[in-house]
Every structure is written in structure tokens, then in C-alpha cells.
Symmetry: C2
Subunit: 182 residues, 2 copies
């Protein structure tokens, strides 16, 4: 076994070959269920998912969302826009580690700092000219590696082309709703 | 104090009036820091934020991201695209609860089911024609309320116009990168 960035590079090659040989093996469906628990708090449950149409069992995880007191919550967890930054950070980490391993680049350390500005008048319905979400997200990437800067810039460009959450956030993805009034 | 959906409606009106009177009070900056911890695992730390340019202290929360074993992780947490669904679910919960309270609608129960399909060939860099992220996200909204269906449909439309994460996901938001190679 050859390990790079904490990943077994034989397994990584195997994953890529399996998806290239049989695209169905690359087909995943994620699931999540969010329950509103009163006020501005919610619990999202995440567990099983599907690969190639078959359910893959998983331990169940709970993600708590809540607003800070300044926004009428009890701050029992990060709020939704902070969870969005966590999703982006988690995705960039995975994409950096995986693609660096694929290119033979050893990463010694990797850390992201995110900042996003929100004008709450959008959420509060006070202005049609203010978008409800972040205007932009500022990201500082601290990347430790012996690879030269040009290789690392190429790695960064590859990450931007292949990161799932980066794609969904910087491009649009539609939500289709089935409204069940009970 | 009048309470609706677990929210103090006087405080809610106060929040809206304060933002209308002084838009600076509606200006928030979120922060998050993600550290790659090896393989496909990361830890995102979320705590203090800024309102009107002033730091607001907060307890610190940690969000773990990891891939399932099928994707070479150890499944110590949800993966990034599952965290994205949690961010969307948390945001829709907050926006429903808040806007329903604003409209005088009592919500007796609210639950969202999400499903998103990913073709991993995008992440793996196997095809330029496959987007890395979700193609679309299917959402079932289970909403219990005595309000009539027309009011609830209006509420839903208002939620879509004002939810921050719904905005950022269904429209695009840019990420600006400062690359620090160390």
C-alpha cells in the first residue's frame, strides 16, 4: 500500500478506474432530513445514502442549526450560513487532498479561513435590492507543501474545476419542492 | 410577550424595525475556519461573528466532515455535499418559522426531506461534461398548520425570496481566494 495525504493511492486509483469502467458506480444519492424544533432551531439527520441504486448503511449524524441570541436564537449550534461555509470548507479539503494525491503532491498542512458578509435586510424582507445570501465569500488558503508554487496553483485550479460544493455554490443548482400541507 | 412558533414577536418586530431604521445593524459577517486533518477528514470551527462591525462573542462549535468508507473515508461525519443539505434545511427552517411568525401563521410541525444526485465522475475529473456538484436537489416539505393552503403557498413563496442559503445555492455566489503557499 502506498499512502499519500492519508489516502491509499491504490484504492484511489481503483475508485477512479471503477467509475471510468462503469459510470453507474459513480452514481450517488445523498439524503438528509431536517426537523424544525421550535424558534430558529433545527436538527438535520444524515445517515444512509445510495451508490449505484443500492442503499449503503451508515451511522446516523445529527447537525444542529440555531441562530445566535442577536438573531433571536439560543445559539445551540452554528446558523445556516455558517453551516454553508463548513460545507464549502469540507469540500475544498477533500478535493485538495484527493487531487494532490492523484498528482503525487504531498500536503503537509491545509487550512481555510472563510468570511462572508450578509445584509440581513434581504432575509427580513425589507428590500428587494438586497440579496438574502452572501454577496461573496472571502477565502484564505494556507497550504503547506514542498511542491513548487506552479504545481500548487495548478492543483488549486483543478480543485475549482472538480469540487462538488464549490460547483453548487458558485454556479446555480435548482431545488424542486413537493409541498405537503398536513 | 407574545410568542408564535417559539419566537417572541415583539423581539422579531424590534429586529425588523432596527434594521429598517439603521441598515448598519443588519450588516453581519460570518466566519469559519476549516482544518484538513488527513485523508478526507476535516474539522470546521465556528464561533464569533460580527454585527455592524463589532465582534459578537459566541461559544465555539466544531463541524466534522468525512467521506464514507465507499469513498475512502472513515465516516466520522457527514460529507461535504450532505453538509450542504443540512445548511439548506437549517435555512429553510429559520425562514419558514420567522416569516410565518411575521404573517401571524402558527406552525405545528415542519420537516424537510432532501435528496440530491451526484455523478462522481465530475469530482474524479473523468468527464468535463459531468458537473461535480448536485444536478438538482429534491425537497419534500411537510408542513403542519391550521392556516389554509393559499396562505401556506404564499408563505412558501416568501421563504424562497428571503432564505439566505436558498439564494446562495439557487443563484451563484463567488468565492475570492487568497492563496498562501507556506
Amino acid at each position: 500500500m502506498t499512502e499519500l495525504n492519508g489516502l491509499d493511492t491504490d484504492e484511489l486509483s481503483g475508485l477512479i478506474d471503477a467509475a471510468a469502467d462503469d459510470p453507474e458506480q459513480a452514481s450517488f444519492t445523498s439524503r438528509a432530513e431536517t426537523e424544525w424544533t421550535g424558534g430558529f432551531e433545527s436538527e438535520t439527520t444524515i445517515g444512509d445514502f445510495e451508490q449505484a441504486g443500492t442503499t449503503v448503511e451508515s451511522p446516523e449524524f445529527t447537525v444542529t442549526g440555531d441562530e445566535p441570541e442577536a438573531l433571536l436564537g439560543e445559539r445551540n449550534g452554528p446558523n445556516a450560513v455558517e453551516h454553508l461555509l463548513a460545507a464549502v470548507g469540507s469540500c475544498l479539503s477533500v478535493t485538495y487532498a484527493g487531487h494532490a494525491a492523484g498528482k503525487g503532491i504531498e500536503i503537509d498542512g491545509l487550512r481555510f479561513e472563510f468570511e462572508g458578509d450578509i445584509d440581513l435586510r434581504g432575509f427580513l424582507g425589507l428590500s428587494d435590492e438586497v440579496r438574502p445570501g452572501y454577496e461573496d465569500i472571502r477565502t484564505t488558503v494556507h497550504l503547506e507543501s514542498d511542491a513548487d508554487d506552479e504545481e500548487l496553483r495548478e492543483l488549486h485550479e483543478e480543485v475549482l474545476e472538480t469540487s462538488p460544493v464549490y460547483d453548487n455554490v458558485t454556479n446555480s443548482v435548482s431545488l424542486d419542492f413537493d409541498l405537503q400541507f398536513e
